[in-house]
């Protein structure tokens, strides 16, 4: 299907203005021998055919499993108004707001989103978004390295293993030393973290709740870090922040995280949303776009992209980051989600996740053969130990209609029998009961 409006007659008239006899003439600069050796694709389809084609493909995905799968990415309720407003084409067909007079909608929305993230984390400044929670964590790491001039980072093993792998990939060519501290029984080894901090360390990176679901108060680690001139970074779950001690209250300098839970569908891995907030003194080191308030000559208030001199299009190789296109529309969705739920709605969501996770943990504990890791308090996710391989178990649970959770052995050697189970506000008491029954069936047939 073509979206090209130009008719043959119009083409002829335009060619005349160009002083050319054919469109081919306009491509004369491309040598004949450099034309494509092959350019073979299926013939173009109409809108109707395309719709049918993709409906069939969508049908080949089994999306009806009752999901207890998390790992940082959760099946949350998304209010209908989020889709309705985010699909207004003035928002989604706009470009980056470089001409502020015609983009006050986008700019104000971003300023408000920045404010939402600050209110959630307790920190002073936020940027307009990064790609996802993993790249956001890497960017925070870079900030600390540039701010301190040091090249050593302490990275806790309780941080999402996918993010840790990403950080190692990005720094492979960069001569940065990482000390990874171990976890045992789903908790960080506090002693080892504190021990690892010294005056050559640029940053200490922790996650709350950690990958196993355990919540903590890292204030003591942050205190020691600051005494040594180290920057403290916390990767957080945004829904949990409705209830949990904030990164600011614990003294952290930078907070990052995955914003998918704030109104983004799971969508097989993206688009997602990396959020970042930091203490005021780090504002000039922040990557990405930042929107600030401004006034015009008549005193009318508006918003404008600010501190652009840090960014790639001006500072080039000395920029704080290379990021250009970010996740603006996802940030808009997050802002919509937080506005629609509001203070009480987010708290209610968090309470439901927490209560239902605790209930599920009780029900699963009662299943013969299942042991739960109870040494640390949890929020929405917990770890259980099975008498069989967790991967095998998860595979058999799929046949019974459940995405039972994530087998931890995949990223933590030695934990092959452990399963990470997540519960959101969408799971009902009935579903949780059926889940426990199904698990019993699989473990003890």
């Amino acid at each position: 299907m073509s979206f090209i409006p130009t008719t043959e007659n119009e083409r002829t008239a335009m060619l005349e203005v160009c002083g050319a006899v054919s469109v081919e003439q306009l491509f004369e600069d491309i040598p004949k021998h450099l034309r494509p050796r092959s350019f073979s694709l299926p013939e173009g389809k109409s809108e109707l055919e395309i719709h049918e084609h993709f409906e069939k493909l969508a049908g080949r995905n089994y999306s009806h499993l009752t999901s207890f799968l998390g790992g940082g990415f959760y099946d949350h309720f998304i209010p209908a108004a989020v889709d309705a407003l985010a699909s207004r084409s003035e928002f989604y067909t706009a470009y980056t707001p470089y001409q502020p007079e015609t983009s006050q909608g986008t700019l104000q929305a971003i300023y408000e989103y920045q404010s939402q993230i600050c209110r959630l984390t307790g920190l002073d400044v936020s940027n307009a978004s990064l790609y996802d929670g993993g790249t956001a964590l890497f960017e925070a790491c870079q900030m600390a390295i540039h701010a301190t001039g040091r090249r050593k980072v302490v990275l806790d093993g309780g941080v999402n293993p996918i993010y840790r792998k990403m950080i190692y990939s990005y720094t492979a060519n960069l001569a940065i030393e990482f000390i990874e501290t171990p976890v045992s029984h789903g908790q960080s080894d506090r002693g080892r973290v504190l021990e690892a901090l010294d005056d050559h360390t640029a940053a200490v990176i922790l996650q709350n709740p950690n990958f196993f679901g355990a919540i903590d108060d890292h204030s003591d680690i942050v205190q020691k870090a600051h005494s040594l001139g180290i920057l403290a970074i916390q990767s957080v779950h945004p829904i949990a922040l409705a209830l949990l001690k904030t990164p600011h209250e614990q003294g952290f300098d930078i907070a990052t995280g995955e914003g998918q839970s704030l109104g983004m569908p799971l969508s097989f891995g993206g688009p997602y949303l990396g959020f970042m907030a930091a203490a005021q003194f780090l504002i000039r080191k922040m990557p990405g776009r930042i929107v600030a308030r401004a006034t015009d000559a008549s005193g009318r208030e508006g918003f404008v992209l600010s501190l652009q001199a840090r960014e790639q299009h001006i500072r080039r190789e000395k920029a704080t980051s290379n990021i250009c296109t970010n996740e603006a529309l996802c940030a808009l969705r997050a802002h919509l989600y937080l506005s629609l739920l509001g203070k009480e709605g987010l708290k209610a969501t968090a309470r439901l996740c927490c209560d239902k996770a605790h209930y599920a943990r009780e029900r699963l504990k009662a299943v013969r053969g299942v042991a739960v890791m109870e040494s640390a308090p949890i929020f929405n996710e917990f770890t259980i130990k099975l008498p069989i391989d967790a991967g095998e178990c998860a595979g058999r649970m799929i046949e019974l209609g459940f995405a039972a959770g994530f087998p931890l052995g995949r990223y933590y050697p030695g934990m092959e029998n452990y399963l990470l189970v997540a519960v959101t506000e969408k799971r009902t008491k009935y579903e949780i009961g059926r889940f426990a029954e199904a698990l019993e069936e699989v473990i003890c047939p």
């Binding site: 130009t6 099946d75 870079q142 918003f303």
Partner: protein, 483 residues
């Protein structure tokens, strides 16, 4: 217009949730709890809907009117792609599913989309393998640089430099720097507006890891020397990187793989019609020639002999994970739908009309605005407002005047090597009528610049705000409305 927090009313409820149906009411121990509630706004659903509706009406998108930002490719975003991305079979899929045993069989439709998109991009760009993982163009550039770094490390080379033309987009040097390289800028030949092989003398050598090129370049010109440049680079085993931001000019006319480029990236949110979103989400898939496939990020998607798809992690030399999962799937899905709608002939039509439209605008305005490189351009043309600057009317003033005429301005002041640059990329989805209206407006503006340059200071005056004091904003740095 007040910010949303100013509209908050204590006690007002928005969207409500069901009551809890579990007999557990857990209290998180106090030492782990936040002291006060997060000061999020308290609004009704209607409050929120009105607020965002009002915001949207202060915005300008492709759906509003002509949006000729150079190198951004602001083409029409087909609505059917939105419908497809929202199909529950795609939108509700958890990315960890295929990593469970037996989970792969439940995501065959999604895996097929990514696999087939990667295959199609190989054919379109002439490359041997593609990865859909990079989440934006700049992210693709960084991934490409990391692949090149891994290649040289593996071969025992010590390569520290990346050569980049001075007209390149800022993401090129910044991406190379983040990958740990130093940048050597290469001057563009002022006579022809492209990078000539002679310019590499004394710069290209044993320290060079790669040369990054955009072709056509940011001046909209196709480089006739690329084969020579490729040969020179490969003599030193330096890799040749292709920035695909300007692909809208060359679909079906040129494939970087055929010209011996080693690594490419494409911008799905430019050439392949996915929406810009006000600044993303986008996607920047990266393609490589065979010798670089071992270094691609994992996981990859493999097609098995029974025609099913599976995740493949067996790449011991891979650079590892650069994204949490398989890329911005929702964007890849839209782009694949777009490619299937166009087919080969459709994509060729895209480039032919994109190039025709840009040349038409250039020829129509050449008497009125200076054309620094008066030759056939590709999908975008670069004009200069130097003539108008003589009257005190600069590129930025012309941009503001265009806003009052109802158009989004082109890119201004880029590329850096042209003074008072106006970079115009119409795209193929614009009609002759729209182009003629734009041309007429540009001519009116040129005339006004001559006759009454003072008038430009007050522009734009048809918008909710006029020119904003960016200096004061940068000094005051009010970037957050605190609770």
């Amino acid at each position: 217009m007040p910010v949303i927090f100013e509209k908050s009313v204590t006690g007002r409820r928005g969207v409500s949730l069901p009551a809890s149906d579990v007999p557990v009411r857990h209290t998180i121990p106090e030492r782990y709890r936040r002291a006060d509630d997060a000061p999020l706004p308290e609004l009704s659903e209607l409050d929120v809907v009105r607020h965002f509706t009002a915001l949207s009406r202060k915005n300008y998108g492709v759906d509003t009117n002509f949006y000729p930002l150079g190198s951004c490719t602001m083409k029409y975003n087909p609505k059917i792609t939105e419908k497809i991305a929202a199909l529950p079979g795609f939108s509700t899929l958890h990315p960890l599913l295929p990593q469970l045993s037996r989970g792969g069989m439940l995501t065959q439709g999604a895996l097929a989309v990514v696999y087939e998109l990667e295959q199609a991009l190989c054919e379109i760009m002439g490359m041997d393998a593609f990865t859909a993982h990079p989440l934006a163009g700049a992210h693709g550039e960084l991934t490409g640089m990391m692949i090149i770094a891994a290649y040289h490390r593996d071969k025992g080379h010590r390569r520290t430099e990346i050569l980049i033309p001075d007209e390149a987009h800022g993401t090129n040097p910044s991406s190379a720097a983040i990958a740990g390289f130093t940048i050597r800028p290469v001057p563009t030949d002022p006579a022809t507006g492209v990078l000539i092989p002679e310019a590499l003398e004394g710069i290209l050598g044993e320290k060079t890891a790669a040369i990054m090129l955009t072709n056509p370049n940011t001046l909209g010109l196709f480089n006739p020397h690329i084969e020579q440049i490729a040969a020179l680079a490969h003599r030193f085993d330096a890799q040749l990187y292709y920035d695909g931001a300007n692909c809208n000019a060359i679909l079906g006319k040129f494939r970087p793989g055929d010209a011996n480029f080693d690594v490419v990236h494409v911008n799905l949110h430019k050439t392949f019609g996915t929406p810009h979103g006000g600044g993303g989400p986008g996607a920047g898939p990266v393609g490589v020639r065979k010798h670089l496939t071992p270094y691609l990020p994992i996981s990859r998607i493999a097609k098995r002999s029974d025609n099913t798809y599976a995740l493949d992690y067996d790449y011991p030399k891979s650079i590892g994970y650069i994204a949490p999962f398989y890329g911005n799937f929702g964007i890849c899905l839209r782009a694949w739908a777009y490619i299937l709608m166009q087919g080969a002939r459709g994509l060729i039509d895209v480039s032919e009309n994109a190039v025709l439209n840009a040349n038409y605008v250039m020829h129509a305005l050449k008497g009125v605005y200076e054309v620094p490189y008066p030759k056939t351009c590709m999908h975008e043309c670069v004009l200069s407002a130097k003539k108008q600057a003589a009257y005190g009317v600069h590129a930025i003033d012309i941009a503001k005047a265009l806003i009052d005429e109802g158009f989004h301005p082109p890119t201004v002041y880029f590329p850096l090597i042209v003074k008072e640059a106006l970079m115009i990329e119409p795209t193929e989805t614009e009609s002759k009528g729209t182009l003629d209206a734009f041309i007429a407006a540009m001519k009116r503006i040129a005339l006004l610049a001559q006759e009454d340059p003072e008038k430009f200071h007050a522009m734009p005056w048809t918008t909710p705000v006029g020119r904003l004091d960016e200096t004061r904003a940068a000094k005051e740095m009010d970037v957050c409305s605190r609770g």
